[in-house]
């Protein structure tokens, strides 16, 4: 049970406090409700590039990191399709520095040209490092547009291509800032040896004078229901063939979400899971196989990825995966197996709560979903999932016409895969 106290400033900033005296460090997590899904389809990668620019100095503080490092603090940030998250860990004595720094960059950035020029390059190198210079690195650049024809989940956070990043101007940056960065579009969570009163005082002092900004209501294009099975084949200079299958699933807040997550655990969480035992250990078809959900707030994807052994054809690989999915649809799972994946979830969740910074991030995320306190109900929601529910949800998701399949072929051993 995580004890949570919440309050909201007049300007709309929501603040959540959790006291934890087992650590000398405070975790300070500021989440903005803006992600790559809010981007213009012709200007993708912007939310993430913007996250880099948030470290390029603000109106009153030319250098962000130095002040933090000088107080023994550390920080970083990440962007995903749904939101942008900035976090700081800092010795309790110097907590006010975090408030000073993050409130100033919420108030206004410096909008420095030099920072934009450099960070454009840095992000291009990040694109290279993560997506182009790794074996199988471009998979999500291929899968997303295959699965989504309309919805902004059709591009990855890094952007569709580097040209979008290279063309960003300072005017774009300013526009984006005032459109999305505002107290009324943010959630602050603070955990560690702190109490609500001092956090309230600090929040009012530093964030209180920032004005509310007009935030447009989010109106994302809806992805039309997929009606045909989609397939894509590519050939790359990689050592082994890989297969990827993605299915549309429900949104994070949908009542089927927990059951869907448990299905992915049945298939591949832990060495006793079905895909690993059957397809890796028993039949030796794959060297690696995985099933997981993207966990997005909007309607996300159920993903299955497998790396084939040299003698496995794509046809056999796909048939084997389909057999496992059919089995979940057609045979009710027994109580033991369901209990197992629920226990595993609970354990994972508890270990997440044992890490102070993770705890701060999770609390902010649950507030974004609607209510931070719901974090304490999550285990129970998973516990309530029944065998019938699992079967019903699997039957809804795992259909041929809801699926996009990618054959990622290895150039050098293409011969063994084609037949």
């Amino acid at each position: 049970m995580i004890e949570i106290e919440k309050f909201c400033l007049d300007n709309g900033l929501r603040v959540i406090v959790h006291n934890d005296n087992s650590t000398p460090i405070v975790s300070f997590n500021l989440l903005y409700d803006v992600g790559s899904k809010d981007e213009n389809p012709n200007r993708t990668g912007f939310a993430h590039l913007f996250e880099h620019l948030m470290f390029g100095g603000s109106a009153n503080i030319p250098v962000f990191d130095e002040h933090l490092e000088r107080t023994g603090g550390e920080n970083n940030a990440f962007t995903n399709n749904d939101f942008t998250n900035y976090y700081i860990t800092i010795p309790k004595e110097n907590l006010e520095t975090a408030f000073w720094l993050d409130s100033d960059r919420m108030m206004s950035l410096a909008f420095s040209k030099k920072s934009l020029d450099v960070q454009r390059n840095v992000v291009v190198e990040e694109f290279n490092q993560r997506y182009l210079n790794q074996p199988y690195g471009d998979v999500w650049l291929l899968l997303r547009p295959l699965a989504y024809t309309m919805h902004p989940y059709g591009w990855p956070t890094i952007g569709k291509n580097v040209d979008h990043i290279k063309n960003v101007t300072l005017t774009d940056v300013k526009e984006f800032f005032y459109k999305h960065y505002a107290p009324n579009n943010a959630i602050l969570s603070v955990t560690g040896p702190v109490n609500t009163k001092e956090i309230m005082n600090l929040s009012k002092k530093w964030f209180g004078e920032i004005d509310k900004r007009p935030i447009a209501l989010r109106n994302l294009p809806k992805e039309p229901k997929q009606l045909e099975s989609r397939k894509l084949e590519v050939e790359r200079d990689v050592p082994f063939n890989s297969i990827y299958k993605v299915f549309h699933m429900n949104s994070r807040k949908h009542e089927d979400f927990q059951a869907t997550d448990l299905i992915s655990d049945l298939l591949s969480n832990g060495k006793s899971s079905r895909l690993y035992q059957k397809l890796v250990k028993e039949h030796n078809l794959f060297s690696d196989i995985n099933a997981y959900i993207t966990g997005d707030i909007e309607e996300g994807l159920f993903v299955i990825t497998g790396r084939l052994f040299k003698d496995t054809t794509f046809k056999i690989a796909e048939m084997a995966i389909n057999n496992e999915l059919e089995s979940i649809k057609n045979t009710s799972i027994d109580g033991y197996e369901l209990e197992k994946v629920k226990n595993k979830f609970e354990s994972n969740f508890k270990f997440g709560e044992a890490n102070p910074l993770d705890k701060a991030m999770n609390i902010a995320f649950y507030e974004l979903l609607g209510n931070a306190n719901e974090i304490n109900l999550e285990v129970e929601k998973y516990r309530e999932v029944s065998a019938e529910k699992v079967k019903a949800v699997a039957s809804k998701i795992f259909t041929e016409t809801n699926c996009s399949t990618l054959y990622y072929k290895a150039k050098s051993n293409g011969s063994s895969s084609a037949e």
Partner: protein, 445 residues
């Protein structure tokens, strides 16, 4: 008019000063959580760290069983990986079922010096998990069928790893630094997986996964029940061979060849590794070198990051670190840069190294680094598992001497710009550095 003036003054006083930072305090004393140390009746050393609010715990077994002790390549890693693949009375599948059912995670890791087994468990299922873990550690059976799966899986994932420029540069670096037959420089090749023999693993387990080569660390929310459970399974009778195995450790010599290149023609980035052998953690210069390394590339605001990422945009990230091995440390600078920036990046890295030798670091920069490092030290006590890691590393490399932390703090607070410059001149001579590049552009003339 007058009234207006007064108001203005009043407003100014009320206004927040956003230009200058709030007052800060430097923690002048760091509370170091010490482990409770227990010697069990079978002689095993057990360290207990009871910190935490959640009912979970972590149990680490640290064996002197790293790759330096193996006769054939990957024996150590394979032995640790295969522990959970079958025991007296339990198949691989049954073991996996039991751990998963109780929501436990059993993981293994090997490095040059140590072989480690880690169990994460809910306190309420610790006993059930340990019943399995006890068999896994004491009586593994290494079934041939499971070994065959391990061979082909292992070979395949290594082949994928070897496609990455970072893997190539890292391997060249350690091979170059120690020689490719030395225990600290040797690397597995895909074929080694196929050559693995069951009896080698049995032998390695018999000699090295034993009570007398093991330290156990128990961290989390630990009460008497948890403690007694661990003692029941691992502390009462002796297990494993008793004989102390002496393994030859070849002398470490200074590398002769200093530049290496691996071609990866289609890569869009080059991986770079530059560094050298360094003194061990007990050496009087060690703590000062930690400060020097931090200035150079040890944190986000470091000189390498500022110059090569934040000023030039050649890379997504660059860092310099001190890796700890049992016999010595290694300084390594690592980055991936756009292929077209390979030479400019190399030039800037050496320029930053040279600057440390001729230009005293400013008080402002040093002050920042001092505080950053003290914060890092505090962060290494952020939660039970972080404390367990810090204390484990002490026991491994400094024989559990908490004094090491005090010494580090003392150095961080008092080292002078001149001392740092002297260290740079002794330890960062260009001729002593090994340079490796992997990618489309060669660094060899």
């Amino acid at each position: 008019m007058e009234v207006h003036q007064q108001n203005k003054i009043f407003n100014t006083q009320q206004m927040l000063n956003r230009k200058s930072p709030p007052t800060r305090q430097i923690p002048n004393k760091i509370n170091i959580t010490k482990a409770e140390e227990i010697t069990l009746s079978n002689g095993v050393r057990l360290l207990v760290i009871d910190v935490g609010s959640e009912d979970v715990c972590r149990l680490d077994f640290n064996f002197f069983a790293g790759s330096r002790y193996q006769q054939k390549r990957i024996e150590s890693r394979a032995t640790l990986a295969m522990l959970t693949e079958g025991t007296a009375g339990l198949t691989s599948h049954q073991i996996a079922e039991k751990f998963d059912y109780y929501g436990s995670f059993c993981e293994h890791a090997t490095d040059r010096d140590f072989g480690k087994v880690t169990l994460l468990s809910l306190n309420k299922y610790l006993d059930q998990s340990l019943q399995v873990l006890e068999k896994v550690i004491k009586r593994p059976s290494f079934p041939e069928k499971e070994l065959e799966t391990y061979r082909i899986k292992g070979k395949q994932s290594l082949i994928v790893e070897l496609e990455k420029v970072t893997t190539l540069a890292r391997q060249d670096f350690f091979k170059g630094l120690f020689g490719n037959t030395h225990p600290y420089g040797v690397y597995a090749e895909p074929q080694d997986y196929l050559d693995l023999q069951r009896n080698h693993l049995i032998d390695f387990h018999h000699k090295f996964i034993t009570a007398n080569r093991c330290t156990i660390v128990l961290s989390g929310k630990i009460g008497n029940d948890e403690l007694n459970t661990v003692i029941k399974h691992f502390g009462e009778s002796n297990w494993g061979a008793e004989s102390t195995v002496l393994v030859d450790f070849p002398t470490i010599s200074t590398p002769v060849q200093k530049k290496f290149f691996s071609l990866k023609a289609d890569a869009v980035q080059s991986a770079i590794r530059i560094g050298r052998q360094l003194v061990d953690r007990k050496h009087p210069d060690y703590c000062g070198l930690v400060v020097l390394n931090t200035i150079l590339g040890g944190y986000f605001g470091s000189r390498l990051m500022k110059n090569i990422r934040e000023d030039k945009g050649y890379t997504y990230g660059i860092s310099s670190s001190i890796l700890t091995l049992k016999e010595l440390c290694v300084l390594v600078i690592g980055t991936e840069v756009g292929a077209e920036f390979t030479f400019p990046a190399l030039k800037e890295i050496y320029a930053e190294i040279d600057r440390l030798k001729v230009e005293p670091v400013s008080e402002a920069e040093l002050d920042l680094v001092r505080n950053y490092l003290l914060g890092e030290l505090l962060r290494s006590f952020d939660g039970a598992f972080a404390i367990a890691d810090s204390i484990t590393s002490l026991f491994e490399y400094n024989d559990l001497d908490y004094h090491f932390f005090e010494k580090t703090i003392e150095t961080i607070k008092t080292i002078t710009p001149e001392q740092l410059m002297n260290l740079a001149n002794v330890y960062l001579r260009s001729n002593d550095l090994t340079e490796c590049v992997a990618g489309p552009v060669s660094n060899l003339n």
